[in-house]
Subunit: 706 residues, 2 copies
């Protein structure tokens, strides 16, 4: 059976057993029963308890073995030590899925962790989809399923929510009941021993009832699976997530909470951005976006039109929009003329359109119809201040009227609280997000526009460069065999050559005479660098001399460099000096590197050399594999990009050559999993060409990893 079929049985069960069902109110085994009944479950429900008797009028099954074969779903609310035997018995009747509500596993320490691993192995051996342990349960209101011990029955809707925190499930459920928001699926993931966020994304991505997916996670279990599922799902529907534990304090709290390793915030930022997941920092934003995405169409461009009956809120909204990716666009001339036909002369006809404090509902409706009709406008925000003459509910009707027919996203902000309460409820009921203040409205529209751009971006193109992977692996394996974690200088140059990376002409000279011969071959001026596998920071031993113009300078400097290195690092093996071609004039230095993340694999970084990376922290990041588009972006996301583009008539650097080196590093990072981190530093680039002038690679030798 495929995972998809199993998850279908899990979400749409026809037969459900509650193991540890109880007749005593307050017990979890009782709440699950009443929740299932209260949700209107139309399939067969079996309370199971060795004590027998009846629960809510149903005869209790004493033995799991008596349950029907091929049971769709079993919900376990039994003491911890009964969980494993129960699942053994359930496996015996061919159960398809289980929810383990019981706590006391990974989250309590080593013993619990071991028990959880046993459950996991058992479920995997029998292809049982297991949710939890240590979770609240799952709901599918449209199918009459509430297999949880949460208080309250949410209505059916088009929003799916999954959460690693049961407490957040509880809070959000209470909040959703208050706001009358419905769910397509509602899942408390618990410890994620079997079913994890990637499985949920995969299933919910194909679930016709789900229009928007919300998630709260503290860590990702399988980075690669998560990225693959997220990439595919975000093409079709929005995924909005909170990743908690992203700061030092948060990560510390998280690791004690679930034993999860939170991972670096940078990596998650890159993972979410590259897969199209919309990331929010707080729960309020999660819900604002859920309502926006589940009710309104996407704006097909950045132009926001604001219609208001008051100046101040209009200005505030324009400010917020101007600081966002949206544009407070000029309306077309035709629109302004049409507005002038009926609006009073003291109205403001450009955007925001201020129809003034005495505006009635009719004026709102005519204005909205004209503005919505303007092809320049991609989204509309209607502001209302409860002035004396405003018709609040009638204006809400006008907004609903326009929203229904215009095909563009329409949002409302009815300012205040008491007098606008009824109108706000009317708007929400009609699927028009309505806020008390302008900011969250603008933020929602901005997120939808960003998602529109992501959804409509061209299909990513991945390049493959010819390379001699075997040659590179040979160098790596030799280092592994010698237990040398650092691949530097001439061995590292081998790897560069294997990938066809452009490097400065370099010759290893074992003596000063060889150095002069090499310099003649390369052409003056040249660079001399100490060559030693043991000295990775060459400058620290005065091991680099640039711009040597003749044989005399080469001779003297060779002797000086090698003598100094031997004196300062008597332990090091000194092979001689590398003689290298000088960088062409007008060259710029950039750094291209990667570091492997435990969860998500190689993370590439790019920045300008020296102070820009070190002091100004002007660095951009992307996870491998990088598409051609990603390589284009990583170069342009730094502030100092302007320096590469060229100042005051200077020619831009050869960006194509630079992006190619980045793409080759991405390929190399995936080809050579033994390399834990690597840095091309500096990469020299001018308007003609780019070359990798120096490189360091660090292996993660087996023992180091454990």
């Amino acid at each position: 059976m495929t995972v998809k079929q199993t998850l279908h049985a899990f979400f749409y069960p026809e037969t459900v057993a509650v193991i540890g069902a109880s007749a005593s109110p307050g017990k979890i085994g009782h709440t699950v029963m009443t929740n299932m009944i209260g949700a209107g479950f139309r399939g067969k429900l079996f309370p199971v308890n060795p004590k027998g008797g009846t629960i809510e009028g149903m005869a209790v099954v004493r033995d799991i073995a008596d349950l029907p074969r091929g049971l769709d779903l079993a919900v376990l609310a039994v003491p911890r030590d009964h969980v494993e035997p129960s699942i053994q018995a359930l496996a015996g009747i061919g159960v398809k899925s289980v929810i383990v509500i019981t706590a006391g596993f990974k989250e309590v320490g080593k013993d619990g962790y071991r028990l959880e691993q046993e459950l996991k192995a058992l479920c995997e051996a029998h292809s049982i989809a297991m949710l939890g342990p240590n979770c609240l349960g799952m709901m599918n209101p449209a199918h009459g399923v509430n297999a949880s011990f949460a208080a309250g029955q949410p209505k059916a809707g088009s929003i799916a929510f999954f959460s690693q925190s049961g407490a957040l499930c509880v809070a959000i459920l209470d909040w959703a009941l208050g706001e009358n928001i419905g769910f397509s699926k509602f899942i408390s993931l618990g410890n994620k021993a079997v079913i994890d966020e990637a499985d949920m994304l995969g299933y919910l991505g194909g679930d016709a009832q789900t229009k928007v997916i919300l998630g709260y996670i503290e860590n990702v279990e399988h980075g690669e699976a998560f990225l693959r599922q997220a990439r595919a799902v975000c093409r079709n529907k929005p995924v909005i997530m909170i990743k908690a534990g992203t700061t030092a304090a948060g990560a510390k709290a998280a690791s004690s909470h679930t034993g999860a390793i939170a991972g670096s915030d940078q990596t998650y930022t890159a993972a979410f951005r590259q897969s199209g997941v919309i990331r929010v920092a707080d729960v309020a934003s999660l819900f604002n976006l859920a309502q926006a995405f589940s009710t309104q169409p996407l704006p097909r461009g950045p132009n926001l039109a604001v219609v208001t009956n008051s100046g101040g809120p209009g200005i505030l909204t324009a400010d917020i929009a101007d600081r966002s990716r949206l544009t407070v666009a000029e309306l077309s001339q035709r629109t302004i003329e049409r507005l002038q036909e009926f609006l009073p002369s003291y109205a403001a006809f450009y955007n925001p359109v201020d129809i003034v404090g005495d505006a009635d509902a009719k004026r709102y409706r005519r204005t909205l119809d004209v503005v919505a009709d303007d092809p320049v406008v991609h989204s509309i925000l209607v502001l209302l201040t409860p002035t004396a003459s405003v018709e609040i509910e009638k204006t809400a009707e006008a907004v609903i009227h326009t929203a229904r027919k215009c095909g563009k996203p329409v949002f409302a902000c009815f300012m205040g609280k008491t007098r606008v309460a009824r109108a706000r409820a009317m708007l929400m009921e009609a699927g028009i997000p309505c806020y008390a203040f302008p900011e969250p409205a603008v933020r929602s529209i901005e997120s939808m526009y960003e998602y529109y751009l992501w959804k409509n971006r061209p299909e990513p193109v991945y390049a493959e460069f010819p390379c001699d992977r075997e040659l590179a692996l040979k160098v790596v394996r030799e280092h592994e065999a010698r237990r040398e974690p650092e691949i530097v200088e001439f061995q590292a140059q081998e790897v560069l050559r294997a990938y066809g990376l452009p490097t400065p002409k370099t010759v290893l000279a074992r003596s000063s005479e060889e150095a002069v011969a090499a310099a003649v071959e390369i052409g003056y001026p040249v660079v001399l660098k100490i060559a030693s596998p043991n000295i990775s920071h060459k400058s620290d031993v005065g091991g680099v001399k640039v711009n040597l113009r003749d044989a005399g300078e080469v001779l003297t400097n060779f002797r000086e460099i090698t003598a100094r290195a031997m004196r300062m690092r008597p332990d090091a093996y000194i092979a001689g000096c590398l003689v290298q071609e000088m960088a062409p004039p007008g060259v710029k230095e950039v750094i291209i590197g990667f570091k492997r993340d435990e969860q998500f694999g190689p993370m590439l970084m790019f920045g300008l050399g020296g102070i820009y990376v070190e002091i100004m922290k002007d660095i951009s990041f992307k996870l491998a594999p990088l598409s051609r588009q990603n390589a284009f972006e990583i170069v342009r996301e730094i502030k100092s990009y302007m320096l590469l583009k060229g100042l005051r008539g200077e020619k831009p650097v050869n960006f194509a050559a630079l992006e190619e080196i980045i793409l080759i590093m991405s390929q190399m990072a995936l080809d050579l999993p033994q390399v834990w981190e690597a840095e091309f530093n500096p990469v020299l680039i001018n308007h003609e060409r780019a070359m990798v002038a120096d490189v360091r690679m660090t292996l993660h030798l087996k023992e180091d990893r454990e």
Copy 2:
């Protein structure tokens, strides 16, 4: 009579007349009457209307002349053309203050502007404090005053609110009624012809009923008065403001709205920060902070303790706090031991303290008491998730209990909506801000901590440097007389000398022989620069040569530079060349400049030369006069400050010398109002000394300004 006495009569009137009072419901002149009566006004209220009759049982006064002499307050709701004659008549009976609700003045164009100027002159001539025109009115609920046509009577409280937008007044009033929030004073400023935000700050700063001042402004009328009042008031009580119209789109909307010039956002940011005003971007934050500041004591340090019954929300809170200026501090060992005495073993004892999902109110209370007792802790945030076993209202009581006795700020976040509604109301009633999600709670505590720091910062110290101001003014006046807007090179050097600013040794050489003599006097190597009052960008004509090492180089280059300048700029007067001492080795280049803001005066800027200012936009700003502390800060607020501090064992630059130059520029900017902008660029600085290597000043000649 002083402004303060007049404003007292305005806010605490014993006699109030409503000019244009009406018996017809729906008319503004009727609403003002019913609002005054509804607010429980205990003084004498006079409806005035030439038609006579009665309104709400009161005899209408037909003629303003029949009102009592020395009337405290008159509220005008009459047609525009009647406003001026009415005020004339009111002046005749010695009215102390007026509110002009009537619109149709500055906001409608030139005619209105002229009329408004007449009102202003009239009021000023008779020392009448005028609010408006084009406003909603004013309220002082504790004194039974509601001199407005707004809907709804707010209760008395400790929050004062003034707003340039009447619409925002309406919205906020409705919101406050819904949230049961009271006001000490509530003022719609309207067009601010007489009473403006600076007057309000001044009055409310001394108003014993007001604990927190909120303001919404689109522009500041008098920058200097505003800064002076704000500085004084913020020492005593928090001032929280929105400045709208800070973006291009917002400013455009604002200028059409009230005819106000919005001013640059940068300047307002500097003005607010330097005077201690807490600036927020949106209305929701304005109110969150108002509640926090008006109910809780200030935290006396950054350490936030979080007590929670659930992990996820605890982690989210730790994340948010870690990204703020607050610290999720480690609790003291004694506290952890005390907690271990009664908390279950599976609780988390460090911060956030997770007392787990089965926590009852008693466990919350004991935990809160212990945590609040820890001297490490400066503020407390209590999180509650409505789990099955939680005692929601009882926990609210426990929070109130701890908050009352501990003397530290206590905030609550009861997550969800329906189940926590009652507890949330209880907390708010008891003066404990309670939020639905953690983010606004952390933001509020952070703002209070920042205000604590501001309030307790040392008194600013202003330095005064000896200078020959007359000499500087002489140079300026000569340029004014010659109508030359640019003061450059040797004239500019005069100004530097007048202020005792360190400059490189410089001699004007009229011939190549003079140049060599000067070079010998200064000492080789030297710099040669073309000297011409007409050439401000010397490099453009190849007019700068550095590092000239002997007489031969000086001779050749003098001839080359002057010949090239004559060829390229035949119009320019060439005085010769400046011979200048070379910058010492290891020198860094910084830029110190100022530009005069129409509202707030000279704004100083500081940054590292070249790319840092131009491309990285790494610049800091402060308004003059800078205190010594400000000079310390402006240097350290840029990212590239690290370069001045010195990398890799390099010595730090002489910061004292640098800060002195900045302070002298601040003094110069205030001394010489004719100078519109000036730039010391570059200022050369190393670990020993700083010197101003080049300078440009631009005058605003009279005609240019008009």
